[in-house]
């Protein structure tokens, strides 16, 4: 019973804070969308709007075309996994999972069988009699997920689902949550500030900044074709360099800058002196070289004072790379260079 979610021009003000400034988002049935943004960007508020825990000032929210703005959370049929998991401490695991059925006054036998079925889905069979306090962090999260899915909701909402887990468990649970989401086939909106998590789990990622969705795209498109410098810098490492006419312009003063090139460190390679350089290249003094196992991380300092980060395969001969020496790096595949066309304002900013 998965639904299509549609949010249109939603505004929310909390006190004197304009938290959501006209957010629009459409999520297809069964799709996994992650809201990614720094803290204070309004992503949790947007999640609460969908759940019905936060009223909107203006704008529309529909589930399968049905308006939900006036519907209380009890009647929205949403499943929410809270950051703290919010398991009810005085109920057993089984009672927690069956709680939505209890709220719907379902008979005890059905509650029991659904609880067992959901616990099996999250791979915690036979844990129904345990108390939440006796579970580990990962187990609690599975129980919270089972509880959120028990009443067969139309949409699943995850609020920073991995924040309370340690790194190793986090990676494991990312895979696990995605597996369960795919199996149930439920429309899912997740909130996180962890970009790895967003890229791993989602069909699409919505980058949020200051109450606005900056870009909503597949993880790869976000990485390859960011709409602006903020998105480029937010996802992974990026070299942002001023360009003019298909070349990198290091000394931009006085020149006509027509955009910003986004060049990922792994797309750059060394060009030996004497060899002809491709169009997309930049030159500078070696500032730092460090070995990081799977790569060498090379930092150049251009004459214009810009830092260029370059990821080199560990197989290269590093003996020629001496700090202070000059080096040239280039991107041989022009398709890998994404140019953000300059608006008048950003042109001035890049030139400055």
């Amino acid at each position: 019973m998965t639904i299509a979610l549609s949010i249109t021009d939603v505004h929310v003000t909390l006190g004197h804070n304009h938290v959501l400034k006209g957010v629009s988002l459409d999520v297809r049935p069964g799709e996994f969308v992650t809201l990614l943004g720094a803290s204070g960007s309004g992503k949790t508020t947007l999640l609460n709007v969908i759940a019905g825990l936060q009223a909107v000032d203006s704008g529309h929210l529909t589930f399968d075309g049905v308006s939900m703005e006036r519907t209380p959370p009890q009647k929205r049929n949403v499943g929410v996994v809270f950051q703290s998991y919010a398991l009810f401490p005085h109920m057993s695991v089984g009672e927690n999972v069956a709680f939505p059925l209890r709220a719907a006054r379902r008979p005890a036998r059905e509650r029991k069988s659904v609880a067992e079925e959901m616990l099996a889905l999250v791979q915690l069979p036979g844990m129904a009699g345990r108390s939440p306090a006796s579970l580990s962090g990962g187990q609690r999260q599975r129980v919270a997920l089972a509880r959120a899915l028990a009443a067969n909701p139309g949409i699943l909402l995850l609020d920073e689902p991995m924040a309370a887990l340690d790194k190793q468990l986090r990676e494991q649970m990312q895979v696990e949550v995605t597996r369960i989401q795919r199996k149930v086939g439920i429309t899912t909106v997740s909130v996180t500030h962890d970009q790895t998590e967003a890229l791993t789990m989602s069909d699409r990622v919505a980058i949020m900044r200051d109450g606005i969705l900056v870009q909503v795209d597949s993880p790869e498109d976000l990485y390859r074709h960011p709409v602006d410098e903020y998105v480029a810098g937010f996802l992974g490492e990026a070299n942002l360099l001023p360009t003019a006419g298909g070349r990198i312009l290091d000394d931009a003063a006085g020149a006509e800058v027509d955009g910003t090139a986004v060049v990922r460190p792994e797309d750059l390679e060394l060009v030996p002196s004497g060899e002809a350089c491709p169009a997309w290249h930049v030159e500078g003094a070696i500032h730092l070289l460090s070995f990081q196992g799977t790569r060498f991380r090379l930092e150049l300092l251009t004459d214009g004072g810009r830092k260029v980060v370059c990821s080199l395969p560990p197989s290269i001969d590093a003996s020629t790379l001496v700090v202070g020496e000059r080096a040239r790096v280039a991107c041989r595949n022009p398709e890998r260079v994404h140019v953000i066309a300059a608006t008048p304002a950003t042109a001035a900013m890049v030139a400055a």
């Binding site: 759940a51 019905g52 825990l53 209380p72 959370p73 009890q74 009647k75 929205r76 049929n77 949403v78 499943g79 929410v80 809270f82 950051q83 703290s84 919010a86 009810f88 401490p89 005085h90 109920m91 057993s92 709680f99 939505p100 209890r102 709220a103 719907a104 009699g129 345990r130 108390s131 306090a133 006796s134 509880r147 959120a148 009443a151």
Partner: protein, 277 residues
């Protein structure tokens, strides 16, 4: 004194320990003397007591007037505590649902103020009510209501403390799972508040059981609550009967208050076992 605080104080701990010992002596010695005088074989309150006998205890326990007073105190205090427990619980639960922070602070203060007011103010006020309303005259209604008022802040403060320890995400979580407020109150909030309600009610009971000012004004003629009888006894014949009765009341208070740590320990052991049933 091998605690970390004790050690970190170094040699400075000597005066600290001395002061602490003196302070506890100040609290304990009068009680010990009181208890000791009730053992006396003679018929005067004397310290050290003359010999050892339990005659004054048998005197108190065999005297129907003392036992009537005890029973009267027991049931009026229980009833007052019950009223205070219900009202204090509702107040604390309701206050958490007030949206405005400012209103919350004011209402909280209004609930706690009764602790600071002198009981004589209630006593005189309720006495006036008793005089005005004829059907209350001769009954214990105003005493029980007055004691419930005195007890209310204790329950309210302790249950409010429990309320603020409940994870604030639980209520929104329950509402997204389809639960309306009665279910939230019954299955989520009440179970979490139960230990606090118990402590609050026991404190309230001990306070009300010993309360004498309201009793002086509001107990109808012919009846005496236990503290009232003790007050009267101290003014009439100053016999060891009085100290024996005091000792019994103190032991009762200690036993009642001991319920709190005992139930807490039981609950903690159950939580450690990790099974709710």
């Amino acid at each position: 004194m091998s605690s970390t605080v004790g050690r970190s104080l170094g040699w400075y701990r000597v005066p600290v320990v001395v002061v602490a010992l003196l302070a506890s002596l100040l609290l304990i010695v009068p009680f010990v003397i009181l208890v000791a005088t009730s053992w006396t074989g003679g018929s005067f309150i004397l310290f050290p007591p003359e010999g050892f006998s339990l005659q004054w205890y048998t005197e108190v326990l065999d005297d129907p007037r003392w036992m009537d007073s005890f029973r009267l105190s027991l049931w009026t205090a229980s009833l007052s505590t019950l009223i205070a427990a219900v009202l204090g619980l509702l107040g604390a639960v309701g206050l958490a649902r007030v949206r405005s922070r400012l209103a919350q602070r004011w209402i909280r203060t209004l609930f706690i103020v009764p602790i600071a007011l002198p009981p004589i103010a209630y006593a005189v006020g309720l006495y006036g009510v008793n005089m005005e309303l004829g059907f209350l005259r001769g009954t214990l209604v105003t005493l029980i209501v007055g004691h419930a008022l005195v007890a209310l802040p204790y329950v309210f403060v302790i249950v409010s403390g429990g309320m603020s320890r409940i994870d604030p995400a639980l209520r929104p979580a329950a509402s997204t799972l389809g639960a309306k407020w009665p279910l939230v109150l019954w299955k989520i909030e009440l179970p979490a508040l139960l230990p606090y309600l118990l402590s609050g009610a026991l404190f309230a009971f001990v306070v009300v059981f010993d309360e004498v000012v309201l009793a002086v004004f509001l107990v109808p003629p012919g009846e005496q609550t236990l503290p009232l009888r003790m007050l009267n006894a101290s003014q009439e014949a100053f016999s060891p009967e009085l100290t024996a009765a005091s000792t019994l009341v103190s032991i009762l208070a200690i036993l009642v208050l001991a319920i709190i740590p005992v139930t807490n320990a039981v609950r903690r052991r159950r939580a450690l076992e990790g099974v709710t049933r």
